[in-house]
Amino acid sequence: MQKCFSMKLKNELEEIIRMSKLIDKFGDEHNITPDTLYEINLALEEILTNIISYGFEDKLKHNIFIEGHLHNNILKIKIEDDGIAFDPLSIKEPDLESNIEERQIGGLGIHLVKTLMQNISYLRENEKNVLILEKLLKCTEDLIPIK
């Protein structure tokens, strides 16, 4: 399995943009389609926003570690933080059917991540949250122009 990127982020929302630039660079290097890149960036935005906004009960600085590994066209992104235990897979699916008056405002972020990724796994290890997102990559070279 090839390690293709890694980054240490501070627990500040501004850091998400830095992560997004790294993903875009990875996409350029591997000819990933813009749609696939968008989906990866969106999933990371949602996960990191949750960790940074709700993961830390103190006001101290924390680090979040991100690593991307590529194997057989599957990108595995490992996200590790030392915040409070939080398993995104335990979150109840939001109600997507109710009308606008009854629609709840929260819960959409995790739903987007679950829908856009092929697989998600979570474990709590050594007082840390370890989340692994798996995304099947589509490359621009795979696209056959229509004649």
């Binding site: 929302l13 998400i16 926003t49 606008i100 405002i105 959409l108 739903h111 987007l112 829908t115």
Partner: protein, 102 residues
């Protein structure tokens, strides 16, 4: 930068966005829009979000859309010039059935 264009005759507020609408930018946008509609008559007010210059939205921005759509009468909230990937994201969130997204 978020810009506003208000048509008094139609009681319609057009909001144009020109940046990534994520967890960083969306809370400020929400405050600015709330401040703007505070002085307007909510009765028959319509709000249009123009996303022509927006390439990325997260659930933080969708929450704003739900919030303002809830405040208004049915069909009085509209999103226009939406890029395909953003439309797809609204569809996954089940919002395409609740608001007019063009």
């Amino acid at each position: 930068m978020l810009k506003f264009y208000y048509n008094k005759h139609e009681n319609r507020l057009l909001c144009t966005f020109d940046e990534r609408m994520d967890s960083m930018s969306s809370p400020n946008a929400e405050k600015e829009i709330s401040k703007k509609i505070d002085g307007l008559s909510i009765e028959n007010l319509s709000i249009v979000f123009d996303l022509e210059k927006v390439d990325f939205v997260s659930s933080a921005f969708m929450r704003i859309c739900i919030k303002f759509a809830k405040k208004l009468k049915k069909d009085n909230f509209k999103i226009v010039n939406t890029k395909l990937m953003i439309k797809k994201t609204y569809k996954i969130a089940g919002l395409d059935k609740l608001m007019n997204i063009e």
